[in-house]
Symmetry: C2
Subunit: 706 residues, 2 copies
Amino acid sequence: MSTRSLDALFSPRSVAVVGASSTPGRIGAIPVTLLRTLGYGGPIYPVNPKADRIQELRAFPSLRSIGEPVDMAVFAVPESAVDAALDDAIAAGVKAAVVFTAGFAEVGAAGEAAQRRMTAKARAGGLRLIGPNCLGVMNLRTGLYATFSPAPGIGLARAGDIGLVSQSGAFGAYAYSLARERGVGLSVWASTGNEADVQLGDVIEWMADDPHTRVIMAYIEGSRDGERLRRALAAAHAARKPVVVVKVGRTALGAQAARSHTASLAGDDAVYDTLFRQYGVYRARDVEEFFNVAHGAAVAGLPRNDRVSLFTLSGGVGAFMADEASAIGLDVAELPPPEQRQILDLVPFAAPRNPVDITGQVSSDRSLIDRATRICLGSAADYGSWVGFMAAAGAGDGFWPVLEALVPGLRRDHPDTLLVVSTLLTPQRRDWLAEHGCLHFAEPADAVRTVGALARIGLAFRRAVPPPLSLLPPPTVSVPPGALDEPASLAMLAAHGVPAVAVRVVRSAAEAVEATAGGGAFAVKVVSPDILHKTDVGGVRLGVAGGAEAGAAFEAVTAAARRADPAARIGGALVAPMVTGGVECILGVRNDPVFGPVVMFGLGGAFVEVLRDVSFRVAPLERADAERMVREVRAFPLLDGARGWPRCDLAAVVDALLALSRLALAARDTLESIDVNPFVVFAPGAGPGGASALALDAVVIGRAPA
Amino acid sequence: MSTRSLDALFSPRSVAVVGASSTPGRIGAIPVTLLRTLGYGGPIYPVNPKADRIQELRAFPSLRSIGEPVDMAVFAVPESAVDAALDDAIAAGVKAAVVFTAGFAEVGAAGEAAQRRMTAKARAGGLRLIGPNCLGVMNLRTGLYATFSPAPGIGLARAGDIGLVSQSGAFGAYAYSLARERGVGLSVWASTGNEADVQLGDVIEWMADDPHTRVIMAYIEGSRDGERLRRALAAAHAARKPVVVVKVGRTALGAQAARSHTASLAGDDAVYDTLFRQYGVYRARDVEEFFNVAHGAAVAGLPRNDRVSLFTLSGGVGAFMADEASAIGLDVAELPPPEQRQILDLVPFAAPRNPVDITGQVSSDRSLIDRATRICLGSAADYGSWVGFMAAAGAGDGFWPVLEALVPGLRRDHPDTLLVVSTLLTPQRRDWLAEHGCLHFAEPADAVRTVGALARIGLAFRRAVPPPLSLLPPPTVSVPPGALDEPASLAMLAAHGVPAVAVRVVRSAAEAVEATAGGGAFAVKVVSPDILHKTDVGGVRLGVAGGAEAGAAFEAVTAAARRADPAARIGGALVAPMVTGGVECILGVRNDPVFGPVVMFGLGGAFVEVLRDVSFRVAPLERADAERMVREVRAFPLLDGARGWPRCDLAAVVDALLALSRLALAARDTLESIDVNPFVVFAPGAGPGGASALALDAVVIGRAPA
């Protein structure tokens, strides 16, 4: 279904309110009042069979009886009346319904069934439905307040460029109120409630296409349909519209709290986090940052690079900003020497590198701010952003004219530079700066963090995003349900481009003797799809010599496995050459029920198991993604020659991750997971037989049939 | 010198301004204007030989000519006039001087020498001096504005309980302005400038003793005198006054920026961080948190435990708060089942565990907030804090009466519970809540974080702090300058209670043969104080059999060492039994130039060297400190039986850390560092000879003479 079908939700030419009321404060009264008094331009049709007039408007007994086209109907009726209202709406040709009514999936199985029936009926009737159990929608440009939130009644947020969608009605209403208090301009606002039909992803996708929305804010608890969310985020990325989210559930307790209050499947938070990073979605750590970043993007756009010029009147705050910038990875590039000399010509005891501290000297010569800033921004350092700390200057009347002259001049002469001022300001002056495309923060740390967030989004916009799975070729590999045994797993990996140690399966001690006749040292392991922890049950012998010792090892590992699990299927034993040296890694894939295959990388042993030092990417991976995921684990230096170890062949790891991504997508309908542990990496060509890397053990698990 | 000597600085009975001026905006005019107009009650004496009257006050040609006692003199004169003014002040019996004048240590060697002369003269004359290059001091209770900051002129912060001291004048002035904007009450304010005499630590110590100061805020760049700062923090801890700091220099870039703008030795940020944690000092991550925590402590005190009841009208925000609380380590204890049932009796579809989500149902029955909150706070869960998210309720007039009734009632019935509300509020209502001992935050994450910070301070107040070094017995151990060789280092450790492997030093191959005659496997290592990396030069042989092989190993390691460094002093070789198994740790001590011995702990190998997974404590350690530092490294599970490893004898590690702390303090005047690497830990008694832990290698380094 095209997102155009949501036009009737956000830009209806007429609105009916089913269950309209004249009693102030009633759920059926609030939207009528808001629509009437806040500037909605289209016809408003109260529907209530018991009244002729509602709030001075003519009322109708049903939607059908209106006799005029109704784009959108708001359902403010009890749960028992929703079904009839929906029939009425479909018969009247209504295109979109906003269902406030609670008592559906959020209250249990019966409600869930009712919700499913309602959704099916709406789909069959060609009607888009938002809710149930939602607070509705707003379009601040057209005065559409199809909501029973009291927030707009207390005061209106200004119309602007930011679309806001929330899976929590109360959070959304709170965010609306904060937007009003902070002077943040909104285009449209939506609360998606139980998401029977319209989901968060649909709204984001619509906003990505909406010419009046330039930045998207979303509060997320979870998504049932990961593909829809991926498509939406890809659309926002393609449209170069920053998406800023608050996502709950980053801790076990938060995830539990989120689950307990919605019927939605919350999904694995780490996968969301990965997805956000891959699509350039900025995950705010709190509501403050949610607004700082979204409003910053709307007011000032994104910086063209991550180099920042820090400018201060106070060395202390300069150091404070430098700490923050450095910690979040901004490039605080030094001012080139010629410009440093120019700064010192202005103020001999200035700090001229970056931060540039022009010192309190500015109180005797206010022109220093403009002159020093222009020296910085004109330098070859090519700063994409400038953050100026102006102390309490903005609060007094003496200093404000300096800023009032500075900002438009810089804007004109450096139109591609992100300008941010940290000072105390009145709301009026703050708004004036915003109108001139300059950000403002009282908190210097927020000034720096916002630059960092916007730079990160800008960087993501210069990278590709993974395509939605629905655009990929259909699966070509079928994995049988349950675990493949080790030889089969290694063979599947090898067949799809992941280098694996050559193993031979033997069915008897005699075969083991024969297989190892050439001599050397061998690993002998029982083969059984039913025994996942072979070492724990005595099913593995390492460093076995060829010949008779290999035969004895065969008997030992198979006997041990039988003792441990008499019912286990035992397919003999595998014999593999011992591999020593190299750095042990763990590669893996989990086929996430919401977002599809997720590829995992970490260093072996304690790094993954104790320190959880792993990186993830949703598939498909590009080479640059795989390179980044290898480098972003904390233990990466151990692959790269730290502590006198060899520099491992990173390309071999990257190739293996790309091969895993391809295999996982080719098998995506039938795959549950792949674990490659250990995957041993050597210096280029320094492994056995000239290999750079080898999977020594692996388990591929097929998905149980639904 | 007693901190009482700072009374003249913060509570002078009279103030003279040397260099007083009548020209508005001049550095000598501002303090006269502020003192005259903002309520200072004592005599004000302008000193200026060129005027009879300054700003309607009688002016004097010198301090001596005043003829009345002068407690404090403000120096607003050029650098060239400071020396004469100081002579004049001493002659006039002035007790304290505030020196605004710049041009001293911050401008180079000549200024530094002038500053030293000034300090010596002030000390000899019995005069305390703050500055030079400082913005001065304020006492908001007495109207003392001995500053040339324009901030108080723009508007006054209210008088209150929080003392604020800053090593950066501009930061301090900005913080003053923020206090005014946020309605935060200050007792005294000080900018310490170059700290020629009065240092940040002195001001903190004075505040710890000041009956009008209950909470201390400090902006810190570095301390030259760590002992003074330790003494001050110990005094604040003893007085149960929370200390909240912003400390710059947590990144290399920030530290460099801080150094470039002051003459102070910044010191090692990790040591400050450790010190703060040991003394219960809360290090705020930004200016916002700096105020949130300090104001929170002043308004509401500290919670009695770290258990928090989260209460919400929105499941989404409940999950959001739960995430934050869980991430910062608050105990979000579940509501006991009987009270959960009571919540469900109120609202059947509420979430009753914790967070308690009473849902939007509250809009039809506002009494639910009070009833549900009392159920939570009356429960056996014994919540020390309560955080209630009230959405935008505080912004409208309809809902405010609910809060207005709720808070005083809860305050009365649960006087020991920290109450925090997150909602939108007008500044008037925010202040009303503060007067009723209830904290308020628009940002729900800040509400939770502030509870976490206050709980952390409260916990630290229930623990002991390390005593200042000056209260410890004098040193009893003398370490010779330079590195001790391995046998000497191990012997010193063993003699002071750190278990070490028994080694024998041999001077010839024959001695090596004889020393290993009993058989077994040995390590043979060259002995030389000049070769720190013995393995790298071939100076180590491991797994050597006794007898002839040991003799050959002796020849090999000594020859290799001679080849590597023909000038190295070689003291033969050491022979030690091979030790296998156990978990390798690294223990260490660094004698920090500012704060004295700092003890370090980490797990061996990559954990310390690549992941920097280490913990620190300044000495002396108590057993509980040592236990915490062992548990706080991320790799701790590897010592504690993770992945099937043995559970190591943690007490043996703790004992060794305590022994190192004692040794370091006993040697503190002559010690540079101790490295014990590896220190191998076993299951209790499972090491060689029944040992639980053994140092296998160590280097003790004596401090080079100054």
